[in-house]
């Protein structure tokens, strides 16, 4: 799931203070699960902003709302007019949601982020989220016993470990396990340790963000639209 954390309240306030009518527009899926930007958190944030405004003697109306998901246009429709009556939307949805709504409003009113979207993660226990995938677009987990060195090793080494391990922990912090320590143990248990002896060649990073923004288009669903896009693109040239 996508994991994010609410921005510090002072940072949010400094973004919002000059607006008269603000809507805190929550999203009830991933960011609700990580208690950062759901409908409940939107309500709480709105209440805190109202009180802060009162304390600062700033005349500001702050309302809260929430929809199921901010990454599908149809969910926005029911509140489209209502949203346009505000002079700022503070969206505690993930970065995808903020972009998507900002594109939808196309500059009519500003959309500010309420949280810092961080990573794809697992939830080992209530309220605890750990990063386990970096979305690099070229998965090699079959080589390392299911432990991703790209994201869980601070130096993304393909032929680790480096010299910085400190009794099983990474030099970066003693709370961070050394991925390669885990990989060696896992491969030993799987009985395929010798696989690690092959030197992995330099990676092709272009499948990740280094290769520029990515898109996925499912041909079996939108064959027609793809043709349209191709024609438009060729005419343009």
């Amino acid at each position: 799931m996508i994991v994010g954390q609410q921005k510090p309240f002072d940072e949010i306030w400094s973004m919002v203070r000059d607006f008269k009518k603000v809507l805190v527009y929550g999203c009830n899926t991933c960011v609700a699960i990580c208690h950062a930007g759901g409908g409940k958190e939107a309500e709480i944030l709105a209440s805190m902003l109202r009180m802060k405004a009162a304390q600062e003697g700033v005349d500001m109306q702050v309302d809260s709302a929430a929809i199921e998901r901010h990454c599908e246009p149809e969910f926005f429709e029911p509140l489209d007019e209502k949203v346009r009556t505000y002079d700022l939307v503070l969206s505690p949805a993930c970065g995808v949601g903020v972009n998507f709504l900002a594109d939808r409003l196309a500059g009519a009113i500003p959309v500010y982020p309420g949280i810092n979207t961080s990573f794809y993660g697992g939830v080992p226990e209530a309220g605890f989220f750990v990063e386990l995938c970096g979305g690099c677009g070229n998965c090699i987990l079959h080589l390392t016993g299911g432990i991703c060195p790209i994201v869980r090793c601070s130096k993304s080494l393909m032929n680790g470990p480096c010299g910085g391990t400190n009794n099983g922990k990474c030099e970066v912090s003693d709370q961070t396990d050394c991925a390669w320590y885990l990989i060696v143990e896992r491969m030993k248990k799987l009985g395929t340790l010798e696989k690690l002896l092959e030197v992995q060649p330099p990676r092709d990073w272009s499948t990740g963000t280094h290769g520029g923004p990515r898109r996925v288009s499912l041909e079996h669903i939108r064959a027609y639209e793809e043709k349209e896009e191709k024609n438009a693109a060729t005419e343009g040239k």
Binding site: N159, G160, G163, T165, N166, E171, V184, V199, Q200, P202
Partner: protein
């Protein structure tokens, strides 16, 4: 001869090699490098020029290496995988070769968040690279030297001739995987190896035995790394928080005894500890050199270059061998 460097010649001659370490300053003034080169000259076959060690900005390794070369001290330039992608790496290697540098040590490089272990601010917010790792860098240098090809496959008009080095932390965990870790570097083409600081000699002997069983000691020149201890506090610090370094208690006790002997006279306390530090270093060198498969020592007298002379002499490694041009 792969590179024709002085270090290569010493190793090839079968004599025990001695390398030292030269940390370039955080300044644009080269005289610090010149001064240190002057002190080290004659007491080592080549001196490592660190590449922004602990992710702290210093004169770049290539520049400082060239200065040292001019001063008559053969440098071992270093290249970390942290700061350059494969394009910049290969360009810098060509430049270094063009400037006459022959030895190059490939290391992963301390993570930018490590930043001098808290002593300095460093640049924890910097974007690191790590496009390739140490083994892959060694492979790139070998391909450039032996096949005259870039990593991407394009041809080089003139191939750079490097004596390729890599680092090894024999006692870092997972300990039982460390010999294979070394094998991968040797398979990739490492000509010489410099290990992390060794204090626990028994542990190092058992790791070297495993390396020998893999036949690695014949395929590369392993130099045992020795960090010269200046004080008891330094030994305790290294044992507790330097990765892959464990310091046996008797050594720490010896240093403490030396410290107490000085009563509360600060100056004497420092001197006695430094003398004990040199004595310990010499003993460690002699024990290391007796280990089969060891082809020399890499003595790290961090910010204490003047200690090289007494150490090298006491260890019977003086004078250094010289070869006519």
């Amino acid at each position: 001869m792969k590179s024709g460097s002085n270090l290569e010649k010493v190793i090839a001659s079968g004599k025990m090699a001695v390398t030292a370490e030269l940390g370039p300053p955080m300044s644009a003034d080269p005289h610090e490098v010149v001064k240190k080169a002057g002190i080290l000259k004659g007491f080592c076959d080549a001196a490592n020029i660190t590449d922004c060690q602990t992710a702290v900005v210093r004169i770049s390794s290539i520049a400082a290496a060239v200065i040292a070369l001019r001063e008559g001290l053969e440098p071992v330039m270093q290249m970390t995988c942290r700061d350059r992608n494969r394009i910049a790496m290969q360009a810098d290697l060509l430049g270094a070769a063009a400037l006459g540098l022959k030895n190059c040590l490939c290391i992963a490089g301390d993570h930018q968040k490590f930043s001098a272990a808290g002593k300095l601010k460093g640049h924890p917010g910097a974007k690191n690279v790590y496009d390739v790792d140490t083994c892959q860098l060694v492979g790139i240098m070998k391909k450039m030297r032996d096949e005259g090809l870039q990593q991407g496959g394009d041809k080089l008009e003139v191939a750079p001739k490097f004596f390729i080095g890599a680092s090894w932390t024999p006692m870092g965990d997972p300990m039982d995987f460390r010999p294979y870790n070394l094998k991968k570097k040797v398979d990739s083409g490492a000509d010489f190896i410099q290990t992390q600081g060794i204090y626990d000699m028994d542990l190092f002997r058992s790791q070297m035995e495993k390396a020998r069983n893999l036949g690695l000691h014949e395929r590369t020149a392993i130099l045992a790394g020795i960090i010269v201890p200046k004080s008891a506090m330094m030994l305790k610090y290294m044992d507790s928080s330097v990765a892959g370094v464990t310091v046996p208690k008797p050594l720490i006790d010896r240093m403490n005894k030396a410290k107490e002997a000085a009563g509360d006279d600060k100056k004497k306390m420092r001197e006695l500890q430094e003398q004990e530090g040199i004595k310990i270093t010499v003993e460690l060198i002699q024990q290391a050199l007796e280990i089969p498969g060891i082809k020399g020592v890499h003595i790290q007298a961090i910010e204490w270059e003047t200690a090289m002379e007494p150490i090298v002499k006491a260890a019977g490694l003086y004078p250094r061998p010289t070869f006519d041009a």
